[in-house]
């Protein structure tokens, strides 16, 4: 019992250290474990900010918008860092496209950010794979750096309507895992 008490007190201390603007998590009202999971998923241990940076994104078609405009208009934004030379990235994209088409009227938006890649290869790839969700180039790693740096591909970041990073997934995201994440984050 005392170890559990120490554990819960540790959670409170960690919450304050990780993000002081968050309210104190009351251990006596453990009702919504989703809040705890969201807090841990948005940890800054790897430098990813808990809140979405205000970035201007330009798609390869030339459309401009800010990331906050995208999050404010949707329930969930899925930002996927990828490259045409990354095999796991290209394998997961067709399913992202399917989900994009199925969910775009339900407030879920995909945004692909190509890094360390060429415009010609990216353009050729998305035409070949019939990708219709927004894709932008990150030529100087500005977008990647705003998210704390992207060291591996694919890296998929889930952002909610409040501009909070609610989940980060590094590596191949299977259909099953994506479905599970969407079901969990959209409830």
């Amino acid at each position: 019992m005392v170890a559990v008490g120490g554990f819960l007190i540790g959670i409170i201390l960690f919450a304050q250290v990780a993000n002081p603007v968050h309210k104190i998590f009351d251990p006596l009202q453990v009702k919504n474990l989703i809040s705890v999971k969201q807090l841990f998923s948005a940890k800054t241990l790897e430098g990813v900010p808990a809140k979405v940076p205000d970035l201007i994104i330009t798609t390869i078609e030339g459309k401009r918008f800010t990331l906050k405009e995208l999050t404010s208009r949707n329930r969930l934004v899925v930002v996927n860092f990828w490259a045409s030379w990354c095999s796991p990235c290209v394998e997961e994209m067709p399913y992202f496209e399917k989900i994009h088409r199925d969910y775009q009227n339900k407030g879920v938006v995909f945004l692909g950010i190509a890094i360390k890649d060429s415009l010609s290869a990216v353009g050729k790839f998305i035409v070949q794979k019939e990708i219709t969700y927004k894709v932008a180039m990150d030529d100087q790693d500005k977008i990647a750096n705003a998210f704390g740096g992207v060291k591996v591909l694919p890296t998929t970041i889930f952002i909610d309507k409040q501009n909070s990073v609610v989940k980060i997934h590094k590596g191949y995201l299977s259909q099953r895992e994506l479905d599970k994440n969407l079901k969990y984050l959209l409830q």
């Binding site: 005392v2 960690f14 998923s41 940890k43 045409s84 796991p88 997961e92 591996v152 591909l153 590094k170």
Partner: protein
């Protein structure tokens, strides 16, 4: 009236330690390896001293960390980045074709298609021939070895390793 045992400092401390240990292994859905030195590259010349008019080899040895692979010289997909050895032009040296090892065709969990890759320890070499007219002396053979590594779940940024190998050119007997 119920009484409660006071929480001792030691027990509280242990609770916090347990918490921190749990947090250190808390999954963030696919942890990237901390060691970014996935491929160790070394360059060698077959001889330290080469007579003018004679041949030698430049060898690149790449030691790929277990669990990782790099694309072969000729990947099966047009978008994949090949492993390449490029030797810079060196006055008085003519280089032949680069010889790459035989790749492996491997199936990974994320794809139904095989990939042509290298793993483990590989050697790539090129023959160089010293011109008969070159003056004796020290030269450096330089080049770039480029590769892009992945494991069975994720990929790492392309890398280029520059190298220089010293050679002493001596007069032919």
């Amino acid at each position: 009236m119920a009484t409660t045992r006071p929480i001792t400092r030691f027990t509280f401390f242990m609770g916090v330690v347990v918490l921190l240990l749990c947090l250190s292994v808390f999954p963030s859905s696919g942890q990237a390896p901390k060691d970014t030195n996935l491929v160790h590259v070394e360059a060698y010349a077959s001889h330290k001293r080469v007579n003018s008019g004679k041949s030698f080899h430049i060898t690149i040895v790449a030691n790929i960390k277990q669990g990782f692979h790099i694309n072969s010289h000729k990947p099966l997909d047009e978008f994949l980045l090949p492993t390449l050895l490029r030797l810079n032009e060196t006055r008085g040296i003519a280089f032949g074709s680069v010889c790459y090892p035989k790749p492996k065709q491997v199936l990974f969990s994320f794809s139904p298609n095989h990939l042509s890759v290298y793993d483990g320890k590989i050697s790539i070499f090129a023959e160089g021939k010293v011109s008969k007219d070159i003056s004796p002396g020290d030269i450096k053979v330089s080049g770039v070895f480029t590769y892009q590594a992945c494991d069975d779940q994720m990929c790492f940024m392309p890398e280029s390793v520059c190298f220089e190998v010293p050679l002493k050119i001596v007069k032919a007997d």
